[in-house]
Symmetry: C2
Subunit: 134 residues, 2 copies
């Protein structure tokens, strides 16, 4: 399983909040997704009002190890397998948040639903699919 | 933006279908997520009946370049910015599928909703969140 897969940030999350909710589903905080201007055309069909999936790197998480295979989420009383919870400490430190686009100015998206720390590297933006994509 | 982020597969998708639908939302194909046995405890709370998010590597995609910033999806007549569509050719070749767990036997999940090619490297499994996570 040792093959390395290398990704590079397409941009970074920025905001001025001192703390963020533990999950996008309970966040109404606003922040900015500042995307590298080389991706301007890639954002051509991302618009205010859209809900988007943001994939990002939990770059502040400790290195994963066997002691993190099960973790007790905040407010729960028993450990859960990490693939069944939203912990930032995962075998691959990949995060997923669904946010709403409020404005787009060139390559800066202002969004609502922030649960990422300021400075978080963004890896991908996808449409939030709830129906069938034919 | 040049920082490298390195991930490693936690397992692989396997199935015997000759072709797959272009999107999980229109797939009822079954297949297996064969996860590395070192992650047995990480799967402790992933069960038959769950809908899960699978993050994976589009390892067969061509290298991304400027000519892929906008792409015309199958069945569409105009190019779209890649961050607004589900193309496998992306700046970071990250895929996301939502599938239903049918069975779990040790570290092998049989799932329905396959749109990944046989042999696809899996990077993460997360719960499919539709409500609020407190």
């Amino acid at each position: 399983m040792g093959m390395e897969i290398i990704f590079r940030p397409i941009g970074y999350v920025h905001h001025e909040h001192e703390s963020v909710p533990r999950h996008w589903s309970v966040s109404d905080l606003e922040g900015r997704l500042e995307i590298d201007p080389i991706y301007l055309d890639a954002l051509a069909d991302t618009e205010a009002g859209d809900r988007i999936v943001v994939l990002f790197h939990f770059d502040k998480s400790p290195e994963f190890g066997a002691s993190f295979l099960k973790q007790t989420p905040p407010g729960r009383d028993a450990p859960k397998g990490v693939f069944g919870i939203c912990s930032p400490v995962r075998p691959n430190a990949l995060g997923l948040s669904v946010v709403e686009v409020l404005t787009k100015v060139e390559c800066v998206l202002t969004v609502r639903g922030i649960d990422m720390l300021d400075g978080t590297p963004i890896l991908d933006i996808k449409p939030h699919v709830t129906g069938a994509v034919g």
